[in-house]
Assembly symmetry: C2
Homo-oligomer: 266 residues x 2
Amino acid sequence: MAGVAGAFDPADPVAVRRAIRERRFTGFTNLVARTVVQGNLVAVPAEYADAFEAYCRANAQALPLLGRSAPGERAIPSLAQDMDIARDTGGYMIFRDGELVDTPVDASGAWRDDLVAFVLGCSFSFEALLQRHGVRLRHLDEGNVSAMYVTGRDTTPVGPFAGKLVVSMRALRPADAIKATILSARYPAFHGAPVSLGLPSDLGIEDLEQSYGGHGLTRLNPDEVPVFWACGATGQIAARAARLPLCITHYKAHMVVTDLPLPKED
Amino acid sequence: MAGVAGAFDPADPVAVRRAIRERRFTGFTNLVARTVVQGNLVAVPAEYADAFEAYCRANAQALPLLGRSAPGERAIPSLAQDMDIARDTGGYMIFRDGELVDTPVDASGAWRDDLVAFVLGCSFSFEALLQRHGVRLRHLDEGNVSAMYVTGRDTTPVGPFAGKLVVSMRALRPADAIKATILSARYPAFHGAPVSLGLPSDLGIEDLEQSYGGHGLTRLNPDEVPVFWACGATGQIAARAARLPLCITHYKAHMVVTDLPLPKED
């Protein structure tokens, strides 16, 4: 960021998107653009868009809808100026008939004129708010991301969209677990309150070390409890299960960076 | 209550106090007068009253001050009409020089003209609010009270008053633990948010089955997590440790019943 070739201001969302687009920044977005809202990306063919929006609304804790593009439009003006949603995210996953076929850093080659992009609230936004209030997020201190798990809980199906709830887990000391619970509950746009805590078995998680995709901080210290929040990856699983002819999502921890400021007053 | 000799309306705090005074009701107060605030009682000689009030204010999560009597007055008009605080609580503990010397059902024989009574917020008030929101409190379903524990955490000392923080513990399923955390945080007058959860060791509690006084629900079901709130018994311990010539408190789970309505809007 500073002091390197192609330096950019990591606090400026326009600069961050531009740096991503030009490959001057290729890292996870949880440590940049921390004063603005970030989001999950799920783009589906227009014929499935209304059903996907209804699925999001029926499972709003996992899939809080921040914005939806017009078909073929690669911008969502309500979320960001100067955004090309097919290029401004650090990585993409391309699914055809539910199968992952490519993980490009630029999705413009695969983008179709009938795609509708959805941006869904993301826990990176509430992580920034938690840290502002002194909650220690050890996975960030360790340069990691939170672990995700596919739970045993069914989402509410709509049309072709169905599947299990995905959660993200943070290892927190009890006082921070309490503070994080109270604070996150104020932000339904970023998944709201936790869905569970303390007992992985409550969500049908047998082994914390077996996270979804095998990444993220999974080992608890003896003074930490696991706290679980609904996760936007729920939408990715549902879109895959629907076996859409084409579905494009962000790649893990490379989120859509918007211009929307995070709430200042809490 | 209904259908027995000396029946009274368990929802009417004046009737409950009168029934207690006349020994027509001798049970725990956590299942009566559920729409009004209940409180802990600590009465100390007037010369210690200002220091005790300062101790309460310095440890407000454990000792939220609801009312204070004038010296020798056995009423706190801001809390209740028709109250005789030396007789309207179902049981008392009399301490002399820090030693328990009696547990009468009527404290008027021991009451002195220089005693100042303090009423401190109590978890029975927030338990009623939690249940209203659908939180299952198994100890109540089982006709029990919550267990209390003396923690390893020091309170902030003031004058002769010092000691460890006492907590009450409720065994809650994870979703209820989350709901209870968010709800209780809104009510600082009834201890506010939990001080810990999930890990008894966080509070220096080695064995949940060894509760303070040996009472209350101490065994967790496999689908429950322990949630700990600061407890008004903290004041009793501090008053004992101060070895006051006289100190009168309520007897466990026999609380001061006030006329103050619980918050209706939440």
